[in-house]
């Protein structure tokens, strides 16, 4: 059924990313994931109505548009040569000229079926034209963009397995209903949820690159500012967006520059050693923690236009990159974030004593 459509096409303009009040940790994590999608996505756990979905959407709107051929359901990249799927738009004898389209943001609704996620036999064409054709699912549409899962902790197990497999391998393999095909799907997975309604399995937790906790702002002044800006936006979206356009453009330019720079960011041995010691101190399982911490630190440095990471980058990357990888002790009352903060203080020293960047 043709009910899945890119949710980027909204009717009202999007709330500007720069105008989001507070939530610095969440915004930083999203920026890092946008600079280096290989970090593996962001898990934003916390209170409802804190603008997680708004932040993802506005961030995607900031990103440079992707090039693809009109009508291509897989967001194939024309620069990467022939598509490896029977993509009717790109594999045609005379494919349409590439055009720009916005970075996709695809919502995975809670009630989604496996068909919608993976794709299925195209019923319409099968019934009407008698053709065996594949109708791409949400994974295809999220290629080169964001896949946003609200209430990821309530998602069914078999869907989670499919998602994780696709996210890790970067491709979707379909073997069902007489169909046999594969297509690329590289996306930034963004999951959100409320821990009061159920925890996430540790296997799934670990697969997210970064995790942040999102809270309703406690300060009344901050809440007032949230409402004031939101109200201004709703009364005159165009004027509001225009007022923030400059800052948004600066953020967009930072992301583009950082994407180019991130491959060249050097990782001094001291930083690597600090990361390794942090992971040992925390007992974080596996190499994934170290890798993610390093990549996040690199992306953070690139976002600031620096070509080498320093201990401050490590310090800031440690929380989001490691706090969800600790072995959970059900009897430990302190949150994992506190444990990471403690370990950071032990390994890297207090914030005052830390070497500051010149």
């Amino acid at each position: 059924m043709r009910m899945d459509k890119t949710s980027t096409a909204t009717i009202k303009p999007l709330y500007p990313f720069s105008a989001i009040v507070g939530q610095a940790e969440m915004k930083a994590a999203f920026l890092i994931a946008a600079v280096d999608p290989s970090i593996g996505g962001v898990l934003a756990f916390g209170d409802r109505g804190t603008g997680k979905s708004t932040a993802v959407r506005s961030l995607a709107a900031l990103l440079p548009p992707i090039e693809s051929r009109p009508g291509c359901p897989y967001n194939c990249d024309p620069a990467r040569g022939a598509p490896d799927v029977a993509c009717s738009a790109c594999a045609a004898g005379n494919p349409p000229e590439p055009a720009l389209r916005p970075t996709p943001v695809v919502d995975l609704p809670l009630g989604a079926t496996e068909d919608r996620v993976v794709g299925a036999l195209d019923l319409e064409r099968a019934l009407v034209k008698g053709e065996k054709a594949f109708q791409p699912g949400l994974l295809a549409r999220a290629h080169r963009g964001f896949l946003y899962i609200d209430e990821v902790n309530l998602l069914e197990d078999h869907l989670i397995d499919v998602l994780l497999d696709a996210a890790a391998s970067g491709e979707n393999v379909v073997e069902r209903e007489g169909l046999s095909l594969r297509h690329p799907c590289r996306f930034v997975l963004v999951g959100s949820g409320n821990p009061e309604e159920g925890e996430l399995r540790p296997q799934l937790l670990d697969r997210f690159g970064l995790s942040v906790t999102v809270r309703t702002p406690a300060a009344v002044a901050e809440r007032i500012e949230v409402v004031r800006r939101r109200d201004a936006f709703e009364r005159d979206p165009e004027a509001f967006c225009a007022a923030w356009a400059e800052e948004d453009a600066a953020t967009a330019a930072r992301i583009v520059a950082a994407r180019a720079l991130v491959r060249e960011v050097a990782t001094p041995d001291a930083a690597l050693e600090a990361i390794a010691r942090l992971c040992v101190a925390l007992g974080a399982d596996g190499l994934r923690g170290e890798l993610t911490c390093m990549r996040a630190a690199r992306a953070a440095a690139a976002l600031e236009g620096r070509v080498a990471i320093d201990l401050e980058d490590v310090r800031r990357a440690a929380g989001p990159a490691l706090s969800h990888r600790l072995r959970r002790d059900p009897l430990d009352e302190a949150g994992s974030e506190a444990r990471v903060a403690r370990a950071v203080a032990e390994v890297l020293g207090g914030a005052e004593g830390a070497p500051t960047r010149g």
Partner: protein, 607 residues
Amino acid sequence: MSPAPDAAAEARWRDAEAAAALLAVDPVGLGGVWLRARVGPTRALWVETARRLWGGPVRRLPATIGAERLLGALDLAATLREGAPRFSRGFLAECDGALAIAPMAERLEPGAVGPIAAALDRGSAPGAEGSVAPARFGLIALDEGEAGAGEEGERLAPALSERLGLWVALSECPVRSQAEWAARPVWSADQVRDARARLASVAVSAEALSALIEGAARLGADGARTDLFALRAARASAALGGREAISAEDLALAGRLTIGPRATRLPEQEDRLEQEDGSEEEAAPEETPPDAPPPDASSDDAGQAETEPHEVDAMADAVIEAAAARLPEGLLQGLSEIARSRSSAPAGASGARRAGRGRGRAVGAVPGRPGDGARLDLLATLRAAVPWRMLRGGGAAASGAGRGRLPVRMDDLRIVRTEQKAETVIVFAVDASGSTALNRLGEAKGAVELLLAESYARRDQVALVCFRGARAELALPPTRSLTRAKRLLSGLPGGGGTPLASGVDLARAVAEQARRAGRTPTLVVLTDGQANVARSGLGGRVEAMEDALSAARATAATGLKALVIDASPRIRPGAPAEALAAAMGARYLPLPRAEARAVTAAVRALD
């Protein structure tokens, strides 16, 4: 100061009426009304009032609606009939510009809640053929769920209720008063129309905004949406009253309709005193907590600095006073109760409904109509159609392009039958009486926490029934959440008599409820079997034991899988706990030194 009952009922009604008017003025901004009321004349009068004030098109949103109907899909019947794809328009797109009324909204499927919530957020819905159709509407959710019933009661999904600005609870009122109310309505459709035109020009002073948010913060009504809804309600109220700026009256109404019902705590008196002291000493305009992140630099513009702190305080006090008239039921019973019912409803409800059609693994095909999650099994459908090919004319009846095709009719359609592995719920009944409490309670708590930690991986749920003193209570409703479990377990008291029968009865009820919800329950009773409180709540060893055994036999009759762990310090043959296990048809496990890990291992062995 509390008014006479009649006056209170009327005040409540007038608020509900005002909610209908505010919604009619700004349906998209306010999202909608969550109306909790039983079916009856009062609710009917309210719906009638809302329709009259709205004056525009009204759509009925049936609770059984599925995602496909909401968003639009291939219309199979028309497609087969006409041999060309025909799409049906989505319900949400059809609702654009209308008022949607959802009766029995608490029964909306999770698959339907998502699209509706998304449409409320974005004012648009994806259409059937790839377009994005506008879907700007106000939603009236008529919730008939039992208020305050917590785990057992059904509630409107929080994903929806948090997006509906105005929360109203109506109770049934005498017919005479209703006739009177209906005879003299406060608002007219004309006033609403004028207010719509005026809405955009209503001025919002910084003081009014601060007062609303300050009030919401002090009542624990958190979330950016609450603040926005409060502001919009106040603005719509000002427009309705023909005012150019938000007045104290508007703030009070917004407090009663948006902030009060969302309160999670009572305003802290001491806190307020401290703040007043502080502002007298230093006249600081803001009482930003030291640990809170400072607002963005750009936020230090007009407004806050000029705001007179005393004035805002006084206004916020007025908002709180108004909101206090509409606090949710049960708030006064204590915070933990509220926290429990608030957080348990969504988890329990969506867990129970997850086993729907079209979910899980495919295990075969059955005749049926695809849609709403049921998936067409194409091969089976074609197989069903093939034998009839000659009789139906083999497509010869169709001309041109249709020739030679296999004719498929509606009754050939086969859908995929799916099967979902049922979740396991482990119901612990823990004897927290004086005789067992000292060591055993700690061990039981440890076991529950360990099981819970394991249940991440297995997606199981754990519930805890605790019995002591005169009765048993459900300390932990079925949950998978470590956060909740830890909070509840840590406060679990021990000591007193052993109402074993009540404990077994309650545990059985919880298990049965889980079974009705499609989950597989397992019962674990941890006790020394020394019952000394009967079902009646009175002491008496003999009667208590008889009751306990009869409760055990009733459990055996239900065929529940059960395990009795004997927690008495010295195990002898024919121990009371063993008799209990025999009556219950349960496995008996003497564990003189019941260790948390041993208990979890025993439960696992039961599967």
